[in-house]
């Protein structure tokens, strides 16, 4: 294949046309999966909202499985494939390794995904997303997952090969940018994750064919969560990389210190995969020492990493803004930030909801004993909708607003709507997550068709407050799905029927192109000098006092929520 490049008019980067096609194809399939998942989400939320109770039982459980696979696996991993291709080629000015094999992997993933969809929709895999044996699905379901995982694993291999090519052909100088470093982190975690997937789905596939007699249910849960939870850690690493990328593109966010940010990524690689233990805290198969060491990522080293990024990302933005002259007060930089740029607002909302809701609830309910009052209640989906959806999906949507003009070279369609899409989506998800979290605190189970228990032998009367919080969940869910469908409409219209970006004068505002592209947040020529001055003589709050205040607000909220849960736990029956 000839190695044709184009030069990006906005950033001056060399972009390989073959790699660009791969980015586009993966991103488009991701959006299709998002569409299926979003329609499923609407049906589910209208069923769980007990006052509406839309679907019949069979279809509720079936659609729940469809929603899980499309959102957590197909949408997210396809988008991550696009991110990996983008980072290793466009950000490093490199050609891709073996683009033809890239297409083979793409097709393999597509076939696998199609098989899973077919099995799920035809009712031959009513085992939900987790497919815990001895519940059994059609062998083609497991085979589909295996094909998808093999395809994704191959792309990760090509990503590493491309890094080697870029290094050898010297397409960049020095060390890779931080964003690529984050993508490498995501790729390493992806290898760990996908190997777990192969390790558990291959024996389960053989069991479904009758070749091996049984799969131990506890062993399955242990290894499966090495896929199920760790795949969400690919998301975390990819999302943080996207945060750094958008911080740079939208407000000229700087990297305060490479050592600190990169060490935090290394902590992810070393420790974050242990989090699969979060799902096994009230399982019979493991002892307390195993549970404590694993659930805490060996003494919360991955939490430390997230708390570091939670500081360095906003601090980098603050310093980036201050260096460009927005120095008034503690929060002048925030007030005067480009809130009308969906790439910026989406990223900031992702940081906030991921940290304050997803992060705090996750660490709390992932505590060995506190898990007793959370396991399999609606608190669990309440938590992960705040991380995977309000965090990762929101960040990926925000990134898309930049990828459309930069990679697809199309203006963002429905620009006026695009500007408020992040707010609608994020607020909707926030309400949904909070509604689920509070309902779960009252003991409302997850994955349950009918909490009025109309067909059960004994009545169960939930606290009347549950009706209220489920209504909040329902309204939030409808808002979020609307936001997601809006995003899909914008993406599809832009990609297939969009107006070409054309030419613009730097420094002007062009509707349909995020301001970070037409009016890039460049730093002054003497920025290093200004930076020296800003650092000199500052004491404890440093050059980013606003962020310092914000992180302490975060820590306070964290402590309150965490210890409140211990208090609730202490009121239970004695148990142990």
């Amino acid at each position: 294949m000839p190695d044709a490049f184009r030069t990006c008019p906005a950033t001056g980067r060399r972009i390989h046309l073959g790699a660009e096609a791969l980015v586009k194809a993966n991103a488009v399939v991701a959006v299709v999966a998002l569409l299926i998942g979003a329609i499923a989400a609407l049906l589910l939320v209208l069923t769980r909202w007990q006052a509406v109770h839309l679907l019949p039982a069979v279809w509720y459980y079936r659609i729940l499985g469809v929603h899980g696979m499309n959102m957590l696996i197909f949408f997210i991993i396809y988008f991550e494939m696009a991110v990996l291709w983008f980072c290793c080629t466009a950000l490093l000015n490199s050609r891709p390794a073996a683009p033809r094999l890239g297409w083979v992997s793409f097709a393999l993933m597509f076939i696998g995904a199609a098989m899973v969809e077919w099995m799920q929709w035809s009712g031959r895999a009513d085992v939900l997303f987790t497919s815990y044996p001895p519940l059994k699905a059609d062998p083609l379901f497991y085979l589909g997952v295996i094909l998808f995982a093999v395809g994704a694993l191959t792309v990760v291999g090509l990503f590493f090969a491309t890094l080697v090519i870029a290094k050898r052909e010297k397409t960049y100088e020095g060390s890779v940018p931080l964003v690529v470093y984050g993508a490498i982190t995501a790729a390493i975690i992806a290898v760990i994750t996908l190997l777990h997937g192969a390790m558990i789905y291959i024996p389960t596939f053989l069991w479904s064919l009758g070749i091996i007699p049984e799969v131990d249910p506890q062993m399955y849960r242990l290894v499966w969560w090495g896929l199920g939870h760790s795949s969400q850690q690919i998301n975390v690493a990819a999302m943080v990389a996207v945060w750094y990328m958008l911080a740079g593109l939208t407000v000229g966010g700087v990297v305060l210190n490479e050592k600190v940010s990169r060490s935090a990524f290394v902590l992810y690689v070393l420790f974050i995969s242990m989090a699969s233990a979060h799902h096994l805290l009230v399982d019979p198969g493991f002892g307390p020492a195993w549970k404590i060491v694993n659930t805490s990522y060996f003494m919360y080293m991955a939490v430390l990493a997230s708390m570091i990024h939670g500081f360095t990302v906003p601090a980098g933005m603050e310093l980036g803004m201050r260096l460009r002259g927005y120095t008034d007060g503690l929060f002048g930089w925030l007030r005067r930030a480009p809130w009308g740029d969906p790439g910026f607002s989406g990223m900031v909302l992702s940081v906030i909801v991921f940290g304050f809701v997803g992060g705090i609830t996750g660490v709390t309910i992932g505590t060995e004993q506190i898990n007793i009052i959370a396991h399999n209640t609606l608190r669990i989906p309440g938590h992960f909708h705040a991380t995977v959806v309000s965090g990762t999906a929101m960040a990926f949507m925000a990134a898309t607003y930049y990828l459309l003009p930069l990679v697809f070279r199309r203006k963002v369609a429905f620009w006026a709507a695009a500007k408020w899409q992040p707010y609608l989506f994020s607020l909707g998800m926030l309400l949904l997550s909070m509604g689920m979290t509070f309902a779960g605190s009252f003991g409302v189970p997850r994955r349950h068709w009918d909490i009025s228990f109309s067909q059960a032998p004994f009545d169960v009367q939930f606290n009347p407050a549950v009706d209220l919080v489920l209504a909040v969940m329902g309204i939030g869910g409808i808002m979020a799905v609307t936001g997601a469908l809006l995003f899909i409409a914008i993406a599809v219209k832009s990609v297939f029927f969009g107006e070409p970006v054309g030419e613009w004068k730097i420094g002007t505002y062009v509707p349909g192109i995020p301001p970070g592209i037409t009016n890039p947040p460049v730093h002054a020529a003497n920025v290093d000098e200004i930076n020296e001055r800003m650092h000199a003589g500052r004491g404890f709050p440093g050059p980013t006092p606003g962020t310092m205040v914000l992180v302490f607000v975060f820590l306070g909220a964290f402590m309150v929520y965490y210890f409140t849960n211990w208090k609730l736990l202490s009121q239970l029956w004695k148990l142990g």
């Binding site: 100088e173 931080l178 228990f453 059960a456 992180v551």
Partner: protein, 199 residues
């Protein structure tokens, strides 16, 4: 000493291992200290706290466990509710509960403030033990006997909701636990509640 101002999109020339500013060091230090608090709380609760999900865990043959449960139910049965035996074992004894699609077997009748060793396992697939409204949640799976010492702290009529998807009738799987007051009197019951089947 400072690295040159750059964004996360720029390659970093040379060595990027440079000292961090004090503000960052302070935050990393505080975050680390908080992580140690988070970590210490779990062993501390094993030592001082009253709720721990450890118990005694053994492998068991699912059919043998069901047989053990049935023998236990027969031994201490006091009455029957909707076809399910109500079992009142003596305080301090080993008590058994089997989860199966779509039933919790049997109904347990316990005395407030007394301790029992509760063995739970599943006959067929994964189930979720969710004691309502106390909000104790445990994963129950076939082949594993999950035994925990439990001490009720209030009399009442409790439910066990299945909160792990176990099949198409999952949402009908509800069991019952009765806790009498210290004197052995039932403080409430659900005899007026509707019986399942027709909605």
């Amino acid at each position: 000493m400072l690295t040159k101002v750059h964004t996360g999109l720029d390659p970093v020339p040379g060595i990027w291992w440079k000292p961090a500013h004090r503000a960052e060091k302070v935050w990393v230090g505080i975050a680390f200290a908080w992580c140690m608090v988070l970590f210490a709380m779990m062993p501390l609760w094993h030592w001082k706290g009253g709720q721990n999900p450890s118990g005694i865990r053994t492998r068991v043959d699912p059919k043998a466990f069901l047989a053990r449960t049935q023998a236990f139910a027969k031994q201490y049965q006091v009455e029957t509710d909707r076809g399910v035996p109500v079992v009142a074992p003596p305080p301090g004894s080993d008590i058994y509960l089997t989860a199966m699609t779509y039933q919790w077997y049997p109904i347990l009748k316990l005395v407030n403030g007394k301790t029992y060793r509760l063995h739970i396992s599943a006959l067929d697939v994964n189930h979720g033990f969710s004691l309502y409204p106390v909000n104790v949640n445990l994963q129950i799976m076939p082949g594993y006997d999950y035994a925990l010492e439990v001490t009720p702290n209030a009399a009442g009529d409790f439910r066990i909701v299945c909160n792990e998807f176990c099949g198409i009738g999952h949402h009908t799987m509800v069991g019952r636990v009765i806790v009498t007051d210290d004197a052995g009197n039932t403080v409430s019951d659900n005899r007026t509640a509707r019986v399942g089947g027709a909605p």
